[in-house]
């Protein structure tokens, strides 16, 4: 019996020739990522162990949740991260340079076939590079720092085959929201989601990261996409073209026809509550957020610029733009997107996790449409506020209208600075 991509990676990490779903293996970790909000528990516990870090070159520390800090307490947590970095000699430290997931993929800190763990549940993003990546807790991270390995129960794999050409202004986010709607918020609990099919091959790396980023929203252990030429180009180095065997065993196969897909919107209070935009058009909004580790890359900001450029955000709506990293900020700034969006009345925010958390809080009775990954009750402010999730195209069109709107009818802004650029990752 052949193996799936996830099984191959876990077998290799465990130093054995083959594994099958359900088996418990102990695998070597290639990359460990610790973010600021959950770091202190790791640092305090690790210091008490009185031991050394297994390999300081394989650890990345990222300040992204408390960025900007906004309070003395948060500034102290950041300081604690800095002290840990200095005391243990961890040089791969990013202080407010963007969301950890974007930082890791931009800097080539994880490669196809490797295993990554992180103290953030959206660590599964890196699966789009053909790596096995999953979120873990702080105590487990402590164990990884000390030993360089972790046990895993090899997950069963659900094959998600996506075929057909996406309509204009329908994006990979819509595919993912649709999938979540089909399988539910626990549809892949402790399973792997493997994305394949001609639509996936056509997607840019940015769009692929969006898919894997939200794997956890179905309870999945990981999301994964076999690496190809686009992956190699993105990483800028020769890679191992690892893939699932023809006779690999899948628990289930789900087929999605992308060619007939409408823009999707997840209604409160679960990312799996996704429905066609036709059912929610017209819902009045107080706030729109375009950005995050899910959809804060250059192609996302580009499509927002194409829709919003040359027009004005209505005065009773706040539209925040949150680039996923400083690199994205610089690139979209150079291309003129951020200036066009600012002129339209958008509020350009520093890269970081703020939009998904509490830094742009919602008041009682307020409604937000965001391009991020979670719309749990009360996560972004009042428990009596509502958050909807969508693609950047839908969010941009909705921001212009002050209500949830279908992006397919919007003309494209023809400023040259937008036109001359095609698909920057």
């Amino acid at each position: 019996m052949g193996m799936t991509l996830t099984e191959k990676i876990l077998a290799r990490g465990a130093g054995i020739s083959s594994v099958s779903a359900g088996k418990i293996v102990t695998a070597k970790i290639n990359r460990s990522v610790i973010q600021d909000a959950l770091g202190p528990i790791v640092y305090r516990k690790f210091r008490k162990l009185n031991t050394n870090i297994w390999d300081t070159n394989k650890i990345s520390l990222v300040i992204d949740h408390f960025c900007l800090p906004g309070s003395i307490e948060n500034a102290m947590i950041i300081d604690e991260t800095k002290r840990f970095s200095n005391d243990f000699g961890i040089s791969d430290f990013y202080d407010m340079q963007g969301v950890s997931h974007q930082i890791i993929i931009e800097n080539g800190r994880i490669l196809p076939g490797e295993i990554a763990v992180g103290t953030d549940s959206h660590t599964c993003t890196y699966g789009a590079l053909g790596a096995f990546a999953t979120g873990i807790g702080s105590t487990e991270m402590c164990s990884v720092l000390a030993t360089g390995e972790l046990w895993f129960k090899v997950p069963k794999t659900i094959k998600v085959t996506v075929t057909g050409k996406l309509a204009n202004r329908v994006m990979s986010k819509d595919i993912m929201l649709r999938l979540l709607g089909i399988i539910g918020a626990n549809g892949a609990t402790y399973k792997s989601l493997e994305f394949t099919g001609d639509t996936i091959s056509e997607l840019s790396m940015s769009s692929r990261f969006t898919l894997c980023n939200m794997a956890i929203e179905s309870g999945a252990k990981n999301g994964i996409i076999a690496p190809d030429e686009k992956t190699e180009e993105f990483l800028g180095q020769p890679i191992n073209m690892i893939s699932s065997d023809q006779d690999a065993e899948y628990e289930q196969e789900i087929v999605i026809d992308a060619s007939i897909l409408d823009p999707q919107v997840a209604v409160p209070f679960s990312p799996a509550n996704s429905i066609s935009i036709k059912e929610v058009e017209g819902i009045k909004l107080d706030q729109v957020i375009i950005g995050s580790c899910t959809n804060g890359r250059s192609e996302d900001i580009k499509i927002a610029t194409e829709i919003i450029g040359g027009k004005k955000i209505p005065p009773n709506l706040r539209c925040f733009i949150v680039p996923a990293s400083n690199k994205v900020f610089a690139e979209t700034s150079r291309l003129g997107y951020l200036a066009i969006l600012a002129e339209a009345g958008c509020i350009i925010v520093n890269p970081g996790c703020g939009g998904c958390g509490i830094q742009m809080p919602l008041l009682e009775g307020e409604t937000c449409l965001g391009t991020h990954n979670r719309n749990f009750r009360g996560r972004m402010g009042s428990p009596d506020s509502k958050v909807y999730l969508s693609s950047p195209a839908t969010a941009a069109a909705s921001a212009l209208c002050g209500k949830i709107s279908d992006p397919r009818g919007f003309s494209k802004f023809d400023d040259k600075s937008v036109e001359k650029n095609n698909g920057t990752d």
Binding site: I136, S138, T139, T189, G219, R374
Partner: protein
């Protein structure tokens, strides 16, 4: 492993996420006592009062979904929860709970077979919950040997310390 016996104090539904259990917006300290004081504070404001005496929590599907924050099981434990019986756990939460020494058992039909006020006995190794009040039992998922070993040793930190000592 010792059986866990106690009274069921609170019942929660499906998809209780870690943002509800441990709201990020109130996270200003990692001290268990503080985490316990804000546990489920918006979703179930009377939760703290109900579990203060120490007892069990029952829940539906996908308990602990969402963020990987370990503050969620720490908060439940600090508030007084001795064990969680749920129809299904989100896996990061499940591992975190065991790692901090909070026993969790997955049993389908939990909410049909157990009510608040019932006295129950949990056998993690066998995967059985005996409902003493209702004179019945439900069969769930036995915890693996690895997890029992972690729980018996008082959580992953204690387990890790002894592993590190033995390799020195």
């Amino acid at each position: 492993m010792e059986l866990i016996r106690g009274k069921v104090l609170v019942s929660l539904g499906d998809h209780i996420d870690t943002d509800l259990i441990s709201p990020g917006k109130f996270l200003t300290s990692y001290e268990p006592e503080y985490l316990g004081s804000i546990c489920l504070c918006e979703y179930a404001p009377d939760f703290r009062e109900k579990v203060r005496a120490g007892g069990l929590l029952i829940a539906g599907k996908n308990f602990g979904c969402g963020s990987s924050r370990e503050t969620a099981p720490i908060a439940l434990q600090a508030a007084g929860v001795r064990a969680v019986i749920a129809e299904e756990f989100a896996r990061i939460f499940y591992r975190n709970a065991i790692n901090v020494g909070l026993p969790c058992i997955e049993c389908p039909d939990t909410l049909k077979s157990i009510s608040v006020g019932d006295e129950v006995e949990v056998d993690l190794a066998k995967g059985i919950v005996v409902n003493i009040t209702k004179s019945m039992h439900i069969v769930g998922e036995p915890a693996s040997e690895k997890l029992i070993e972690i729980l018996e040793g008082g959580g992953l930190m204690a387990n890790l310390k002894s592993r590190l000592l033995s390799t020195r």
